[in-house]
């Protein structure tokens, strides 16, 4: 799987696609592969504010319950309600239809700390078990 060049990535395997001052967030293909079949997603309410590093939601596979961390600070403007009945979109299309939240970015400068696709792929290779 290739990682979209126009996304940013975190060490927690979240991705962020920035458009102007808003961003769409989801978990990466590596994360969904580690999780296995996703069966449940808990998303925040629209309007909630989070700081970078806060837990904004939960993804559950058959066996595991995993927190999702904000890659940047922001306010939730939209959530992917399709995940309520089709949690497995995270497995089948983690970088597209499996998106989780859309946020208004509080501080664009925070995005500088994030990895680009090449750095993320190297991070995965360096940490492969």
């Amino acid at each position: 799987m290739s990682y979209p060049a126009n996304f940013k990535y975190t060490k927690d395997h979240e991705w962020l696609k920035i458009t102007g001052s808003s961003g769409v967030i989801g978990i990466t293909d590596h994360a969904q592969h580690q999780l296995g079949d996703v069966v449940f997603v808990e998303l925040p309410e629209v309007g909630r504010k989070f700081d970078k590093g806060d837990v904004y939601g939960v993804v559950e596979s058959v066996k595991a319950v995993v927190d999702c961390y904000m890659p940047v600070s922001g306010t939730i403007v939209k959530v992917n309600s399709a995940l309520e009945s089709q949690a497995d979109l995270i497995n089948s299309d983690p970088h597209g239809d499996g998106w989780m939240i859309e946020v208004d970015l509080a501080d664009l400068s925070e995005t500088q700390d994030l990895m680009d696709s090449a750095a993320y792929e190297k991070y995965l290779a360096d940490n492969a078990d």
Binding site: G36, D37, V39, F40, E42, V58, E60, V62, K63, V65, E84
Partner: protein
């Protein structure tokens, strides 16, 4: 920390793309393709599990029957050879050392199959509680065990054995051959599906496993891992030691009164269970299904009108039933099917309803 052990089929797991994890001191596959796919394959066609990590303990001798009947809660004296009995191996207080299968091989020979995580504990407990003329040996290393489970299990296994599988009723076994190798063939399983468990010598493990896979190819046989083993057994309402049963809850509380035969002569735990039955149970293991969104997990609190009444012992999203289900202990008064309860899932109290077990069953 001592090194993890490998079963005789480890190289097959790796070859077939198994995701290997540590479990009960062994390197075991949790899944091959996906838990969902393997679960559905077992319900619809057939899957094959390596369960060699389970332990086997052999009792032989003049006093074998007397000792086995004293150690376990179920009737053993009454059963004839070639029968299998599910039973509790209990402490004097009626809680579980383990849940076990007892195979009566001969009048004076019994083979226990015990949980992988409890082998040493069970064996030590048994040795401490023996009397008379018998031998009790931990023979776990002498066996590879595989489980072939699913509606097509018989069609897969029959070409490999001269034993007429249609003559082996549920919870019976026969000694025969599979792919030319001596094997114990038992009609048992931990999935709620029709199927067989085979016990044989590890030196032939790969030969038998590959023969099963080849015979199963036209039926879409898949190797199946520990992940779907857990989802299948939970749907079938079967207890898992460490989750639903343990040394903190008695066999009666655990809804396993049917493996406790209080009319037997003395067995370890009998007195405590008799007293508990007289006094009435204070808590009960129940099954429940979620009404609102959320998945119950081991350790989550169970409440009623915001008052804690128990805890979840097992929970998952049921793949076959497409709803979240769980088992847990609730205080007396809340165990009737239909009772509405709440499960504390992170910050929310999510509605659920007590339901009868099993969640899923198939006519055998």
């Amino acid at each position: 920390m001592s090194e993890l052990k490998k079963t005789a089929l480890y190289s097959e797991h790796v070859r077939l793309g198994g995701k290997i994890v540590p479990f009960a001191g062994y390197e075991m596959p949790v899944q091959f393709t996906s838990i969902r796919q393997e679960h559905e394959a077992v319900r619809n066609h057939v899957g094959v599990f390596d369960v060699s990590h389970m332990g086997e303990i052999l009792f032989t001798g003049k006093d074998a029957l007397k000792n086995v009947d004293h150690l376990v809660s179920n009737h053993i004296a009454k059963i004839k050879p070639f029968r299998v009995v599910y039973s509790g191996l209990l402490y004097p207080n009626g809680t579980f050392v383990d849940d076990v299968l007892v195979y009566r091989i001969k009048d004076d020979e019994f083979l226990f199959c015990v949980n992988a995580s409890n082998v040493d504990k069970d064996f030590a407990w048994m040795k401490q509680n023996l009397s008379g003329d018998l031998t009790c040996e931990n023979v776990s290393d002498r066996y590879t065990q595989i489980a072939i489970q699913g509606p097509d299990a018989g069609k897969v296994l029959q070409p490999l054995t001269r034993t007429d599988l249609s003559t082996i009723a549920y919870y019976r076994f026969q000694m025969g051959q599979v792919a030319g190798i001596d094997a114990l063939i038992s009609r048992t399983g931990y999935t709620g599906e029709y199927g067989f468990e085979l016990y044989f010598s590890p030196e032939h493990a790969i030969k038998i496993f590959q023969a099963v896979m080849e015979s199963g190819a036209p039926f879409g046989i898949t190797p199946a891992g520990l992940g779907c083993r857990d989802t299948l057994r939970l749907e079938a309402g079967m207890a898992l030691y460490g989750n639903d049963i343990d040394d903190q809850h008695t066999a009666l509380e655990a809804n396993l009164g049917w493996v406790v035969k209080l009319e037997k002569d003395d067995f370890i735990g009998k007195k405590a269970l008799e007293e508990q039955q007289q006094a009435g149970l204070k808590r009960h293991l129940v099954g429940f299904e979620m009404i609102d969104r959320g998945i119950p997990r081991h350790g989550y609190s169970i409440l009623s009108n915001s008052v804690p009444i128990g805890e979840v012992t097992s929970g998952t999203m049921s793949i076959t039933l497409n709803k979240a289900i769980g088992m847990g202990y609730v205080a007396s008064g809340f165990e009737s099917p239909g009772t509405i309860i709440q499960i504390q899932i992170r910050d929310n109290r999510v509605a659920a309803r007590v339901v009868p077990l099993p969640f899923y069953s198939r006519t055998r």
